[in-house]
Amino acid sequence: MPVYKKYVDMIVQYTEDGKIIPLAVRWAPGEIFEIDRVTDIRPCASLKAGGAGIRYTCEIKGREKYIWLEESRWFVEAKDHTINAG
């Protein structure tokens, strides 16, 4: 299935020591998914979506998902316009 780069709305927490913790991601209007846990943060490129930035490995409803922070925007590797977070 073709993968494309999808910019998403995010709810994030900026901590007092300057960390950024993603709390929830909005895949589509009305579909907000809470992020249960962030298990890894590292600089990384996404060859599939086409971009590079800080990659957050997030646990959403028991599944592992990657979300990238590219400069000031967030993107995910989305599969063919369908929502695949749950």
Binding site: P43, A45, L47, K48, G50, G51, A52
Partner: protein, 417 residues
């Protein structure tokens, strides 16, 4: 006491087909097609700036016209340049280099020297090169070629030796096999004309250059002969500069390829005024004054020359820089051919707060008035944009004067020394 001389460990990292690689990363759909980044044809900047590996197979060359490239490869994908993106990736790569040493010296956007002599805890040169190469690939999604050697010149030759995504180590043991058979033109600072002069002396390879008696090179090329002799023998000791976000400014200049050929003095006056205004404003903004004005002119046969003139006094006054540039031009151009591109730069810089020696025959009061005028127009331009206030002559041909070199100017060329 025993003196131990520690051999330097220097890397030269070169991002492969930098602009094209960054574009391919961001456009997965064209990754397996021949891709080039090209300038704007409408603005007559229509040349190939970079190409990917697939485009290289079609013998597409950097600097050739887009139509020539299209003829060699009709399915070539040509993308407009996105300098903001390239600068971001350049910065990200430098951040990785800075994890290993503070001696990171950029050479353009896509190349850097690193002195990792003191980074032995991270491993030897080859180990560090492998780690950097893997990190760039993983974190940025592009590839680099790295040369490892004991001097900057051979490290650079090493990064050119094998591409893409390769590491070449040039040691005191193997440099005669690797470096010496290379054409002399591969050495830094051996350009087209130096190469021709070397060839006429029977020197075709780096090895032949290295084995030439130094005094013969000196008598032919002066101090450059000595430098080339050192380069070819691996005796270059130039240090890798410490990384500094604001490198020492040696000159400030702007140039442009005009949207149409310049046909007469009036056309040149319009373009030079726009360029001189940008240069003078950048000087003032960065707190410099300069004394030497240099112009470069390229005619529509692509023949290029430069001329320079040193003034009596340091200045950052727009009208003085423009006047000096125009005088140089009037003195040296005979209008045998129309002009394609023109540039002006100011060198020999000092801080603008250095006290100035005036002389008896110079109207210092009028210079102060000009400085106040410049300050006033700078303020207007910073509030309302570059076009808010202009000399009337610029309105004679808005197509020629309608560019903003100060805003559009992003990539700064660099020199080795």
């Amino acid at each position: 006491m025993e003196v131990v001389i520690i051999e330097r460990v220097i890397l030269h990292s070169d991002c492969n087909s930098f602009y094209a690689s960054v574009e391919c990363l961001h456009h997965p759909e064209i990754r397996n097609k021949p891709v080039a980044v090209g300038g704007d044809v409408e603005q007559r900047h229509g040349i190939i700036l970079a190409k990917n590996q697939l485009a290289k197979k079609y013998n597409i060359k950097t600097g050739e016209a887009l139509w020539q490239a299209k003829r060699k490869c009709p399915e070539l994908v040509i993308l407009p340049p996105n300098y903001h993106l390239y600068m971001r990736f350049s910065k990200l790569a430098r951040q990785i280099y800075l994890d290993y040493t503070d001696q990171v010296e950029p050479f353009g956007l896509d190349e850097c020297w690193l002195d990792v002599t003191g980074s032995a805890v991270r491993g030897d040169g080859l180990t560090i090169a492998k780690e950097i190469s893997a990190r760039i690939k993983y974190e940025l999604g592009i590839t680099v070629s790295i040369g490892v050697s004991w001097n900057k010149i051979f490290a650079k030759l090493g990064s050119d030796y094998k591409k893409p995504d390769a590491i070449t180590e040039i040691t005191r043991q193997n440099f005669k096999e690797i470096v010496w058979p290379l054409p002399a033109g591969d050495l830094l600072y051996v350009g087209y004309s130096t190469q021709r002069r070397l060839n006429s002396m029977g020197i075709h390879t780096v090895g032949q250059l290295a084995n030439m008696p130094q005094n013969i090179l000196h008598s032919n090329f002066g101090k450059w002969g000595d430098i080339l002799f050192c380069f070819a023998n691996g005796m270059d000791t130039t240090p890798v500069a410490k990384f500094d976000n604001s490198p020492t400014v040696k000159s400030i200049g702007n140039s442009t390829t005009a949207p149409r050929d310049l046909l007469n003095d009036e056309d040149v006056k319009i373009v030079l005024l726009v360029l001189a205004d940008s240069v003078a404003r950048r000087l003032r903004e960065q707190g410099f004054k300069g004394r030497t004005v240099c112009i470069s002119v390229r005619d529509n046969d692509l023949f290029c020359f430069t001329r320079q003139h040193t003034m009596k006094q340091y200045t950052n006054i727009t009208s003085e820089i423009a006047k000096s540039g125009l005088q140089l031009f009037y003195k040296h151009y005979r209008w045998n051919k129309p002009i394609r591109s023109i540039g002006i730069s100011v060198t020999d810089l000092v801080s603008d707060c250095v006290p100035a020696q005036t002389d008896l025959y110079c109207d210092e009061r009028s210079r102060e008035r000009k400085e106040r005028l410049d300050a006033a127009t700078d303020w207007l331009k910073s509030r309302f944009g570059t076009y808010a206030v202009q000399p009337a002559v610029l309105l004679a041909d808005r197509r020629l004067s309608g560019f903003d070199p100060k805003k559009d100017h992003t990539i700064h060329p660099v020199g080795y020394f």
